[in-house]
């Protein structure tokens, strides 16, 4: 089954064509394990690879790298969205399917910008930050 409808795919191609810097999707599929309860025969790692490879095919500036258990991934499968291949702490844990695919696409678009898109007030406040800050956002696909 195709990841995106034709119209959606055309839109994503448009967005990806405007990236100002390359973005790598670094996929961690995790160790082979028994399928989770309720997941049927779904291979979550394989689905993640398919999804990211299909997204990478939609823009020259988007690449996909797959590893089993790279450092820095506490949960699997997961994908780290890396501007110019750098790990800047932007990650999606789990399969971003359904509505949440938009979050992954949006993360690629944002990571592809040369300058952050936050308001000047927010940027100034973050520049003053003197400690690390971990933001986790729990989401569901619907």
């Amino acid at each position: 089954m195709a990841l995106l409808h034709a119209e959606e795919e055309a839109k994503v191609r448009e967005w990806f064509a405007e990236l100002e810097r390359p973005v790598e999707l670094s996929v961690a599929i995790g160790p082979e394990e028994t399928p989770r309860a309720g997941s049927g025969d779904t291979d979550f790692g394989a689905e993640m690879v398919r999804l990211c490879e299909e997204l990478a095919a939609l823009g020259e500036g988007v690449t996909c790298r797959v590893e089993e258990r790279p450092e820095g991934f506490p949960r699997f499968p997961a994908v780290s969205i890396r501007p110019e291949g750098r790990d800047v702490g932007v990650r999606y844990d789990g399969l971003p399917w359904g509505y949440e695919l938009g979050s992954l696409v949006g993360a690629v678009v944002e990571a592809g910008r040369a300058e952050p898109t936050l308001r000047p007030e927010s940027r100034a406040a973050l520049e003053e930050l003197d400690r690390d800050l971990a933001l986790d956002v729990f989401v569901t696909p619907t």
Partner: protein
Amino acid sequence: MLLAYRFALASERVTATAIEANEFPQLAQELEVWAVPRIVVDGEPRWDGAVPEPEFLRRVLGA
């Protein structure tokens, strides 16, 4: 979710992770995720729902 990502992209001090609640039910239960999006700051559940950028900034920096 995108706002958290934009914060992380704007500051080396900030990381942002989306966590699919259905796939990690134990973690979701520990953090009392009953509604989404649930925002967790430095491991502490803070609030549910999307808020505008100025309010998001106020809430995360007030953490």
